[in-house]
């Protein structure tokens, strides 16, 4: 070995989750395709960007931290806002019910004295700054420049000034912001600005050739779902949006084409996830239970309500399998009927679904494929592993630690977040 050297002046860093939302519950890797659809429908937004005023507020927070990027300083501004919101929630039940803000759960037990001053350790309010969830969408929307400093663009500076002029935040960094800063008290000018930023103020016809522009995509989506939004009392969910598109069997243009794909994908995801969760639960309960599950998979009828819905767990094995097979049946029927009209980003899960639905015919192969799909999706974090007897067991890391997810539900597609933003700025 040659001369030994020590590095100096460097520090390792923790690896931040990428993408920000952990795939902890994405057991079969089906989220990636759903994300692809969501990117086509609502580019530049995320499931976490659900309050319009965070955009202008965070621009202001970035602006007052100066030229270089200082996440802690931005986090401090966020906590100042949190204290304001929390104090309003304490005084007013309606605010508590209607105004959603990050950190509400944590500070709900804080006393008035606690709420009067920014704590020295910001992580006692919440650990990860809201900034981290919003900065990528803010860049997509043109509020931030490229580069590691996340400098404000001209649009960003404009947003910052709109917030500043509406709120007059004051100088001290350790006290709550004025009540005017509340996310629900967004000013008319901020509303107009964000409406323009998202493309919701677009008037007149939109040409088919404009589909690559993300503002146009959002505008098209907003127009498409406007009626559903009204009918559903200003609330968009995968359940109330996608069911409108699943039965359309003809050439479609955007965003109807993608909405139809998403609907079919959700039936498939619900079916695969329900069966997988049931199977893992059976494996956890021992070999006998796992064998019983495999037998049930081959014999249980697909006779439950197969609509797109969120299913709360736990359910007994037979019910879970019945729901799972009913969803798979619907997905496979739709997949077959659309073969002349659509191209799927990933065909393999349909083949997996087919084998599971016909488990009587494909036997162990279907579960082997389900296991492989899970391993492929989770890598090191796989919940189950094969054992020396040719069966499966809970993986070492999860022995005694695996918890049944609370529900099986469709992917969110940013619909709920988008409709929340829309409510903030006066509707679609």
């Amino acid at each position: 070995m040659s001369q030994m050297t020590l590095l100096e002046g460097v520090l390792p860093s923790w690896v931040e989750s990428d993408p920000l939302r952990s795939r902890a519950v994405d057991a079969l890797g089906l989220q990636a395709v759903a994300d692809e659809f969501a990117d086509k429908l609502l580019p530049g937004l995320s499931v976490l960007t659900d309050r319009a005023r965070y955009f202008s507020f965070l621009c202001w927070a970035r602006e007052i931290t100066g030229a270089s990027h200082n996440e802690t300083a931005i986090h401090r501004c966020e906590v100042r806002l949190l204290l304001t919101e929390a104090a309003l929630s304490k005084e007013n039940e309606n605010h508590k019910k209607d105004c959603k803000y990050v950190g509400s759960r944590n500070v709900s037990s804080w006393t008035k004295t606690n709420l009067a001053r920014v704590p020295s350790d910001l992580r006692t309010a919440y650990e990860t700054p809201v900034w981290r969830a919003y900065r990528a969408p803010m860049r997509e929307l043109g509020l931030l420049c490229a580069g590691r400093d996340y400098a404000l663009s001209d649009l960003g500076r404009k947003a910052a000034s709109l917030f500043r002029n509406a709120v007059h935040p004051g100088g001290s960094r350790t006290i709550p912001l004025p009540e005017r800063a509340c996310l629900s008290k967004i000013s008319a000018r901020e509303k107009d600005f964000i409406r323009h930023l998202l493309g919701l103020d677009k008037r007149g016809p939109i040409s088919d050739r404009e589909t690559d522009d993300s503002t146009i995509r959002r505008a098209r989506f907003a127009r498409e779902v406007r009626e559903i939004y009204r009918r559903a009392e200003q609330s968009l969910t995968p359940e109330n949006v996608l069911c409108e598109y699943e039965d359309l069997k003809r050439e479609l243009s955007e965003p109807q084409y993608t909405l139809r794909l998403a609907a079919v994908w959700e039936y498939l995801s619900l079916g695969l996830n329900a069966l997988f969760i049931g199977w893992v639960r059976a494996i956890k309960e021992g070999e006998r239970k796992a064998s019983a599950f495999e037998r049930l998979l081959k014999t249980t009828r697909a006779d439950r309500d197969n609509s797109l819905q969120r299913l709360s767990l736990p359910l007994d094995d037979e019910a879970l399998i019945s729901y799972g097979r009913a969803w798979l049946k619907r997905a496979l029927e739709l997949h077959k009927s659309l073969k002349d009209y659509v191209k799927w980003p990933d065909e393999y899960p349909f083949s997996l679904g087919r084998h599971l639905f016909h488990a009587k015919q494909y036997g162990d192969l279907a579960l082997q494929e389900l296991f492989e799909q899970h391993q492929q999706a989770k890598g090191d974090d796989a919940w189950i592993e094969s054992n020396s007897n040719g069966g499966y067991q809970i993986a070492g890391e999860f022995e005694d630690g695996w918890k049944l997810p609370p529900a099986v539900g469709p992917h969110s597609y940013r619909f709920s977040a988008f409709s929340r933003i829309a409510r903030d700025i006066g509707g679609l």
Binding site: P12, W14, V15, R23, Q373
Partner: protein, 591 residues
């Protein structure tokens, strides 16, 4: 990024670090990358790093991955384009466990080293530690050189089996531009890591050691738990040891009475008030993100602290286990592991300890016996790797590497796990399929690598079959020279049309693009000339481009590699001699 001086270490996305490097280095060619990982999830890799590696001028990338782990996670339908996947086997039974990144963009280099595999967990699902640096800064340069030193030792090591083409890529293309430093990155190839750590700390008054590791070995003779590695650390480094690790069912591992053990906290400290998380999806997502805690500990670090709180930090891939720390790969059954040693100042020690105290808690639960993680069963099959070659739009042959197979062994291969099977005879550790009907039965695609299967005791065992970076890889000398020129200039051929990507119509803004367009113009000008003229123009373009690379060693090393590569292909001896002499004259007059 983020964090005040006293808070803790920064949190960085791997993709952000690479993206920053790419922004700084522009689109300069050549663009080459080597990744080492134990587990490999191609979907997540292509989702997260794919856009960066393929933006503007794509990288020619190799992923070195543990052969056994790769076989265990392969999905039969997986295909991986022109990414080169190289399975690595340890001859003596250990696993290939380093996690590192080395990228070259022109004369700029970037390195990353730590605990993160190229998997979902490695991209941030787990608690992972990585050290990143690039040659724009002196500190980063030392890391890059250290990583190059390790790769240099790896390809020469007798304990390792890996595809020859991966070795030559590292030796002939990646390493020439860097002066490897053999002392910055420690590895377990020839000497156990713990012995090397002791040497590093020989003139350092270590008072206590903090160990961050998810896994701990018990001795094989398990008469009660005897954490042998911890005992060795206490014996060789410091008596006082604190271990930060993962719990099982809330119980810490039993590491003996002399060790303080802290386990990862499942809940944020401020949320441990008996509050149940809302089951509604949005609220659950919000909690998950804003109060996010990684799913499990995967980081590996050893912090040796002096009485005055100065410290040396070893960070890398090595768990606190026997095959990682106490054994070597050559002549023993140890893993291939790496660690980098960093000298820390007081405030840096505080940052790390602050985070550890925040992320881990002491528990009063009774400890549980250690059950070291079961290793994924070792790799099977004779074939390590394959490569498809095509000429004029159709596959001409399939090369196989089976380094440990006996001469004359017949293996059955197929492109699907259920056949149809094609017999291949292995000679001198190589197999070759040239028969058109056999190739048709295998039905490979020309433009994308995928997994093939070998029949082993009626079981299908996968191995990767890659397509070369250069779409046409015939034995013709002009083709070979063009492939080298295009690699150096960062030009890709479209595998379908075999054309290079179109020239930039408008005047390129980036000076690197301007230079390349100029050279491409010269190559295009020679296209309709005679064979010798084309060779002469290509070689002169190549020489001029390579000589522009700063540093004295890049050009001679590249020229030597090019001569080595071309000499068996050029039948005309006079021409071969001329090329050799032309490249040997290492002057910069041609500029």
């Amino acid at each position: 990024m983020g964090g005040s001086a006293t808070s803790g270490l920064s949190w960085t996305k791997t993709a952000d670090s690479i993206s920053d490097f790419l922004k700084r280095s522009g689109s300069k060619p050549p663009r080459r990358a080597v990744f080492c990982t134990y587990g490999f999830d191609h979907d997540r890799f292509s989702q997260i790093l794919g856009p960066l590696l393929n933006r503007r001028r794509p990288f020619r990338s190799w992923v070195l991955v543990d052969s056994g782990a790769l076989q265990a996670h392969v999905k039969s339908t997986a295909s991986f384009g022109r990414l080169q996947i190289a399975p690595v086997r340890c001859r003596n039974g250990g696993i290939f466990h380093p996690k590192l990144i080395l990228m070259q963009a022109g004369s700029h280099y970037f390195a990353g080293l730590g605990s993160a595999n190229l998997t979902n967990g490695g991209f941030g699902g787990n608690l992972e530690l990585m050290l990143f640096g690039d040659t724009a800064q002196e500190k980063g340069r030392a890391l890059v050189q250290g990583v190059a030193g390790f790769l240099d030792r790896l390809i020469k090591s007798s304990a390792i089996v890996m595809p020859e083409k991966a070795k030559s890529f590292i030796r002939d293309l990646v390493l020439p531009g860097i002066e490897p430093n053999q002392g910055t990155v420690l590895d377990s190839l020839k000497e156990p890591l713990l012995d090397q750590m002791k040497k590093r700390l020989s003139d350092f008054a270590t008072e206590r050691i903090a160990v961050l590791s998810p896994w701990h070995s018990a001795t094989e003779n398990r008469e009660g738990v005897n954490p042998e590695v911890i005992a060795k650390i206490q014996e060789g480094l410091a008596k006082k040891v604190c271990v930060y690790t993962e719990a099982r069912d809330g119980r810490p591992p039993n590491l003996g009475k002399t060790v303080e053990v802290k386990i990862r906290s499942d809940q944020p400290k401020k949320l441990g008030l008996g509050q149940e998380l809302d089951q509604e999806s949005d609220a659950a997502i919000e909690e998950e993100v804003f109060q996010r805690r990684p799913n499990s500990v995967h980081a590996k670090a050893y912090l040796a602290v002096e009485a005055d709180r100065k410290a040396v930090l070893f960070v890398g891939s090595a768990n606190c286990t026997i095959p990682a720390l106490l054994q070597k790969a050559e002549g023993d059954s140890g893993n291939v592991e790496i660690l980098v040693a960093i000298k820390l100042k007081k405030f840096q020690v505080s940052k790390l300890l602050n985070d550890l105290e925040d992320l881990f808690i002491k528990t009063s639960e009774a400890p549980s016996d250690i059950h070291p993680k079961r290793r994924i069963k070792t790799e099977q099959g004779q074939i390590l790797w394959g490569e498809l070659r095509e000429r004029q739009g159709s596959i001409v042959d399939l090369h196989l590497e089976a380094p440990d197979a006996r001469n004359g062994t017949v293996v059955q291969i197929a492109s699907s796990p259920i056949g149809p099977w094609v017999p291949v005879t292995i000679k001198s550790a190589k197999g070759l399929v040239t028969d058109a009907s056999d190739l048709k039965r295998l039905a490979p695609k020309i433009d994308t690598g995928s997994f093939f299967f070998e029949l082993v005791h009626s079981k299908s065992v996968p191995f990767p079959v890659c397509v070369p970076f250069h779409a046409s890889s015939s034995d013709d000398a002009v083709d070979a020279i063009m492939a080298i020129v295009e690699e150096e200039l960062g030009i890709w051929r479209d595998p379908a049309t075999r054309r290079t990507e179109p020239t930039i119509k408008e005047k390129p803004i980036d000076p690197a693009d301007q230079k390349i367009e100029k050279e491409r113009g010269r190559l295009a000008g020679a296209e309709h000339q005679g064979r010798l003229d084309r060779i002469a123009v290509a070689i002169s373009v190549l020489k001029r481009f390579i000589l522009k690379h700063p540093g004295d060693q890049y050009a001679p090393l590249r020229f030597a590699a090019i001569t080595r590569q071309l000499s068996p292909l050029i039948k005309n001896k006079a021409l071969a001699r001329w090329i050799d002499e032309y490249l040997r004259v290492n002057n910069r007059e041609v500029l």
